[in-house]
């Protein structure tokens, strides 16, 4: 190890890892659904990442690498083990057929723009953790399918089918919630079909 190499590693880790702090915390909180547990998960992730940094492959994706560490740390935690045990056996099976088109002027389209984030956040919260994490990696972290594949250690085909199922499940969960909100907001007899 030469002097500049050691120096570079320390500086590089800080430069790469610290800008991801807020994003990692957000992801950790979504996974654990608890502030204290999220803080512990972030802390443990950084410790493991720092320890493993010398083995980090140059030219590979640091973000996918550290998210993978966080996810694996979560999955081996008590809560992670508990939530993964509740996943149905047919979790990653192919879907029955193409997903039907979203109807025009559904509760989503009518209310998404004006509805509070709470309905959507509640629906995301209620998703199985495997759906929640893939949806967040794609929509919030804006990871490519390849990055998601690297993070979750699954083939790209699985990324696509799991993402599709996650979206479908979310829409199904949103519909009654939003219809309920619509019922509260829109007086009876009002035509909201547009």
């Amino acid at each position: 190890m030469d002097l500049s190499g050691a120096n570079l590693q320390i500086d590089s880790f800080e430069e790469l890892a610290l800008p991801l702090f807020d994003q990692l915390y957000n992801f950790a909180h979504w996974l654990t659904q608890n502030r204290d547990e999220a803080e512990d998960l972030v802390q443990e992730t950084y410790v493991k990442a720092l320890k493993g940094f010398p083995s980090f492959q140059l030219g590979t994706n640091f973000r996918a690498w550290i998210y993978r560490i966080m996810r694996n740390t979560f999955l081996t935690s008590r809560k992670g083990l508990k939530v993964t045990m509740t996943v149905p056996l047919d979790f990653d099976e192919e879907e029955e057929g193409p997903e039907p088109a979203i109807e025009h002027a559904t509760p989503e389209t009518l209310l998404l723009a004006s509805s509070s984030h709470e309905s959507l956040q509640r629906a995301i919260d209620e998703l199985p953790v495997q759906f929640r994490e893939i949806l967040l990696l794609c929509e919030v972290e804006e990871m490519s399918y390849q990055e998601i594949s690297d993070t979750l250690a699954v083939p790209i085909g699985t990324v696509m089918s799991r993402l599709s199922r996650a979206r479908k499940t979310l829409r199904n969960q949103l519909r009654p919630q939003l219809q309920q909100e619509a019922g509260l907001r829109i007086p009876r007899g009002t035509n909201h079909g547009l």
């Binding site: 190890m1 030469d2 002097l3 500049s4 050691a6 570079l8 590693q9 320390i10 590089s12 880790f13 800080e14 430069e15 790469l16 890892a17 610290l18 800008p19 702090f21 807020d22 915390y25 957000n26 909180h29 979504w30 999220a38 803080e39 972030v42 802390q43 950084y46 410790v47 720092l50 320890k51 140059l58 030219g59 994706n61 640091f62 973000r63 193409p98 997903e99 088109a101 979203i102 025009h104 559904t106 989503e108 389209t109 998404l112 723009a113 984030h117 959507l120 956040q121 995301i124 949806l135 929509e139 919030v140 804006e142 399918y145 390849q146 696509m160 993402l163 599709s164 979206r167 829409r171």
Partner: protein
């Protein structure tokens, strides 16, 4: 029924993951199809809503401070032994090796890695993560992925065309990798933060090593640019000038 096959790939299209060759056809269909167009709009709305709603939790100021305080010393402690060993090595080797040679070696390594990144990317089955000829699509894609911003040149009235971009890493430093086409030759443009690079580089145009590539590099606004490809030196220089003018 005709649209079922299109709709099955609508999410893939909106995620920007369709293969390059399908993208234009799909784009044209979605824009003009009365069934797919509103469906795509609904899905985009949902994507945007999830994007906003998903940014829900922020770390407390106390936790942030605690992490910042704990991280740096830990990092330095971990490498303390390495530092001591390295210092001894440097003392011995330093008497034998001139600073000039050291700098040149570091510089050559960077150029060699740039050439490797260019070749490896073009050999990949999916060389770009954001596929677009539109600079207004490619530039925002890098937002939040790399710790700096840069400008892409306007390509009207010249032979260059933008194929897309991807994130890249050089010596663990994140950067942008853009791929251009000129008369069937692919040219890579890499952009990194100057201060993050390990070696001091000077602005130059040359052929790196024994490879048959032409390369040009320069520093501008705190960013280090590399333009490399098997196109002629004149083409490399023209693209470099476009970037210099845009920055």
């Amino acid at each position: 029924m005709v649209c079922e096959s299109w709709k099955a790939r609508l999410d893939t299209y909106l995620d920007g993951e369709l293969p390059h060759e399908e993208l234009r056809t799909f784009d044209s269909h979605v824009r003009h199809c009365p069934a797919c167009s509103p469906d795509a709009l609904s899905r985009v709305q949902l994507k945007r809503a999830i994007h906003l709603a998903g940014k829900r939790f922020t770390p407390s100021a106390e936790f942030r401070k605690r992490m910042q305080q704990s991280m740096a010393p830990k990092a330095r402690r971990s490498f303390r032994v390495g530092w001591m060993l390295a210092a001894a090595v440097v003392l011995v080797v330093g008497t034998l090796t001139s600073t000039y040679l050291g700098n040149r070696s570091g510089r050559d390594q960077v150029f060699s890695e740039i050439a490797d990144l260019h070749v490896a990317t073009l050999a990949s089955s999916s060389p770009v993560d954001v596929i677009s000829t539109d600079r207004h699509t490619v530039k925002p894609w890098f937002q939040g992925k790399i710790p700096f911003a840069f400008n892409l040149p306007e390509l009207q009235n010249n032979e260059f065309s933008l194929l897309g971009g991807r994130m890249t890493y050089l010596e663990q430093t994140p950067g942008a990798h853009l791929i251009y086409d000129v008369r069937k030759h692919h040219i890579s443009v890499f952009v990194f933060q100057e201060r993050s690079l390990p070696a001091k580089l000077s602005d130059s145009a040359f052929q790196p090593g024994k490879l048959s590539f032409n390369m040009e590099t320069w520093s501008q606004g705190g960013l280090r640019y590399f333009v490399i490809g098997d196109a002629s030196a004149a083409d490399i220089d023209s693209l470099a000038k476009l970037f210099k003018a845009a920055s």
